[in-house]
């Protein structure tokens, strides 16, 4: 279990991370969302023991990042947003180097390297030079490097940046597989639709402050107490809006883009059905009546202001 407690980082007069706290359990895939400069990388680097927190701490399976940084490093795999790979070195040599650094016994290294190559679908490139790999393959190689010691926590900072759609899809599958293997995965990104696909927990950070944390559905529910309904009628006119404004539960009405009407509706599904029935009963020829589901992007845009540190 990973417990991040009031993690804080100050740079001179600026607070880059302002008391971030959250808890993740094995199998959790956590999407860390924020604009550039929001504090994602700083938080991840603090958890990776590469940056000293000004205050607060993070505890992974009883090991503290301040008191036992070496213990933490044995349990994490860290993939930075931008990383350099050694040139003049073959793929298997690269993985062998990290397996040795993580003290994987020499007689098991070959087997481990083969396993992670298979998991990341790089077996055919085992003897290729690192510099000859495509960007997507290099990303996967870095992920493979993170896996040689079978870590409990994976810290992936913008792993999908610069990847083509196919490589992204492959990476997504791989991360899902790692989650199924019981690892805690923290993925930072600002490509929101992608994260909502495979993250079971998300956190939205802005100006170093964690604005929201939890499962995507719960965050959406918490943010939008009222349902967003879209009503479309044949020959729309202002009378629909006037009629709707008299109904119970309707909090706000706004004209839509395509002649439809958007309603903020505070009520249960039963009340929603009654509203539709009333419209039909009133003689309006309803051709569309749906609840608009908010997505991660909407939540993000609603919660954040775009300000950065």
């Amino acid at each position: 279990m990973l417990e991040v407690r009031n993690l804080r980082k100050e740079y001179g007069g600026l607070i880059a991370v302002k008391g971030v706290s959250f808890t993740l359990r094995p199998g959790d895939i956590f999407g860390f969302i924020g604009s550039n400069g929001a504090g994602k990388t700083t938080t991840i680097r603090m958890i990776a023991t590469l940056l000293e927190p000004t205050s607060g701490t993070a505890i992974l399976d009883g090991a503290d990042i301040i008191r036992n940084p070496m213990e933490i490093r044995r349990m994490i795999g860290y993939m930075p947003d931008f990383f350099g790979l050694y040139e003049d070195i073959k793929v298997w040599e690269y993985l062998d180097l990290f397996a040795a650094l993580y003290r994987v016994p020499a007689n098991r290294r070959g087997h481990v390297v083969d396993n992670v190559l298979e998991l990341t679908d790089l077996t055919v490139k085992k003897d290729a030079y690192v510099q000859s790999l495509s960007r997507g393959m290099q990303q996967r190689l870095c992920l493979a490097k993170c896996l040689v010691h079978d870590p409990k926590l994976l810290l992936l900072d913008e792993p999908a940046s610069g990847l083509d759609p196919r490589a992204r899809a492959e990476l997504k599958e791989l991360i899902l597989e790692l989650g199924r293997m019981g690892k805690i995965v923290i993925v930072s990104s600002h490509i929101l639709p992608e994260l909502s696909d495979f993250c079971n927990t998300v956190g939205i950070i802005e100006r170093g402050e964690l604005l929201a944390f939890g499962p995507v559905n719960q965050i959406v529910r918490d943010l939008r107490q009222a349902r967003q309904l879209v009503v479309k009628t044949l020959n729309p006119d202002r009378s629909v809006e006037a009629f709707l404004s008299t109904r119970q539960g309707v909090q706000a009405i706004a004209p839509g883009t395509d002649g439809d009407v958007r309603i903020e509706f505070n009520g249960e599904l039963e009340d929603q059905a009654e509203l539709l029935a009333a419209l039909v009963h009133e003689g309006y020829r309803v051709v569309g009546f749906r609840e608009e589901q908010a997505n991660l992007q909407d939540v993000f845009l609603e919660l954040t202001t775009g300000a950065v540190n």
């Binding site: 990776a48 490093r73 010691h149």
Partner: protein, 526 residues
């Protein structure tokens, strides 16, 4: 199968014997034709030198045996000088870019997020460059052997000289690695390394020349007893390979002493590099500081024992006792601490937490690398230097009196004064870099400039009582009125100590009255 925690033995075996970083570098270094080309050119150059000497000797058919042997000795000397030059040039080229290039390539984070101590990483890097240099030295061995076979040198001298060169390669490698950890760019690291090594070669050359001249006057040119400092210069390995130093009545070969000194220096540089690389600064900084004190003690004892041998009981000056003059050595050696002072005592919020204020004089923080422990550490260094020197003098049967303590007192005062300036600047100004710049500026104003200006404009003004403005000069006790030197040193020592401590207290007041650090909201609101 999460990575396991290795034991002490495993840890050290992995660091020194099967270092993964050294293995990786080995693969890269010897992949392709590059190394083959370098080795080929190197051997070709040495063979060319050998052939030139051979042709020079063989063309002269009337040459005597003595002249031929002299030629061979000259050949041996030329080869060893070339190898010394090679060590000075190639070691920094291999080591100085090792860390900084990884930082620039952004691969250092991948290394540092693995469960390896900076020591493991640095030893791996050092082994890589050292191994390469050693291979070049080994390639030159057959050519050097030619002069042994033909009578230009003895085998044991050649092996001792090689051993000394390899020790120099180790020290230079560690020094360049340290430069690589502090430099922002590879070119800067290379420049720092070459500059440092050039200065080292220059200083050891001058020191050994001076010491050899002194010894020769006492013992004659034929004596094999020579100060080991000769061996600290890579260009005088031939002189150091068959000489010895007398220590406590025992003739210790110079190559043994140089090896010990070399290993101690290597360790010091690795500690320093490790403390820079260490993310939290903890054990590496503590190790560096404690090790620094131990080395300082050893150095002070050595210097004391050497000075005691030279100094007679009769006073060298009518106004100053010999104890005072010996105390001056402590003062001038301790003044080198001024180079470290800005990084030890200055603090600022624009840097990592280890540079945040932790008090002005906190003895408990002496080894943790935070600014609060900076001044106590400097005081401790002065204490260790003074005690070490006194022990060294006692070993050589020279007993010091209370006058010996006066220059260290002045040193303590000067260091405290500048520490006070650094603390006030840190508390009142924006950041640690500005504070350090202020301290360095104050050195120029209070220590360097007056001496230069006064020497340029007023000849012999030091001895004139009307030149009252000289009284504010910190080093006045050293240059003014020899007959009052004792009292002046005491007064300036105590005075600067009081002023320095007062400034420390003032800095504390400034710090407590400062407005809190602006938060993100303040910044945005502004």
């Amino acid at each position: 199968m999460t990575a396991t925690r290795p034991g002490w033995l495993q840890e050290n075996a992995a660091t020194y014997l099967s270092n993964a970083i050294a293995q990786r570098d080995f693969r890269v270094q010897f992949r392709g034709n590059r190394s083959l080309l370098v080795f080929g050119v190197f051997v070709f150059t040495l063979i060319s030198i050998a052939l030139l000497y051979y042709l020079q000797t063989s063309l002269d058919r009337q040459t005597s045996v003595a002249a031929a042997q002299s030629n061979l000795q000259m050949f041996y000397r030329t080869v060893m000088w070339s190898l010394a030059g090679l060590v000075c040039v190639i070691t920094p080229a291999l080591s100085a870019t090792a860390v900084v290039a990884e930082r620039q390539r952004r691969s250092l984070d991948l290394m540092m997020s693995a469960p390896v101590h900076p020591k493991y990483y640095l030893v791996g890097k050092m082994v890589s460059s050292y191994r390469y240099t050693w291979m070049l030295l080994a390639l030159a061995l057959p050519i050097t052997a030619a002069s042994v076979v033909l009578g230009g040198a003895a085998w044991n001298d050649v092996l001792a000289a090689y051993f000394l060169l390899s020790i120099h390669a180790l020290v230079f490698s560690a020094f360049s690695l340290f430069m690589s950890t502090i430099a922002p760019k590879p070119t800067t690291a290379l420049t720092y390394s070459y500059l440092g090594i050039f200065m080292y070669v220059l200083v050891t050359a001058f020191a050994s020349a001076a010491l050899i001249a002194t010894r020769m006057m006492g013992m004659g040119a034929a004596s094999r007893e020579q100060p080991f400092i000769v061996g600290l210069n890579p260009f005088s390995v031939i002189e150091a390979s068959n000489t010895y130093t007398m220590i406590a009545g025992h003739a210790i070969p110079n190559y043994v002493i140089v090896a010990v000194v070399g290993l101690l220096l290597t360790r010091l540089f690795l500690f320093a590099a490790g403390s820079v690389l260490s993310p939290y600064g903890g054990s590496e900084v503590r190790g560096l500081r404690m090790y620094g004190l131990a080395l300082l003690l050893a150095f002070a004892v050595y210097v004391g024992s050497q000075l005691g041998g030279f100094t007679t009981s009769a006073s060298m000056s009518s106004f100053t006792s010999n104890s005072y003059i010996l105390g001056m050595y402590v003062f001038w050696i301790g003044m080198l601490g001024l180079f470290l002072l800005p990084s030890l005592v200055c603090y600022g919020y624009d840097a990592e937490r280890r540079y945040r204020p932790t008090g002005t004089m906190n003895w408990l923080r002496m080894f943790d690398g935070t600014p609060g422990g900076g001044l106590p550490y400097l005081w401790m260094c002065v204490g260790v230097l003074t005690v070490g020197m006194a022990i060294g003098l006692a070993i050589s049967n020279f007993t010091v009196n209370q006058d010996f303590l006066l220059p260290p007192l002045l040193l303590l005062g000067v260091l405290t004064l500048f520490a006070g300036i650094g603390q006030v600047a840190s508390a009142a100004l924006a950041g640690v870099r500005t504070a350090r710049a202020v301290v360095i500026g104050s050195y120029l104003i209070l220590l360097v400039m007056p001496l230069a200006l006064i020497s340029a404009f007023f000849r012999d003004v030091y001895q004139e009582r009307s030149a009252w403005f000289l009284d504010v000069y910190l080093l006045a006790p050293m240059v003014r009125f020899p007959e009052e030197r004792w009292m002046m040193t005491l007064a300036y020592g105590v005075g600067s100590l009081i002023v320095g401590l007062t400034m420390s207290l003032v800095s504390q007041r400034i710090l407590s009255s400062r407005r809190p650090i602006p938060t993100t909201s303040h910044v945005i609101a502004a």
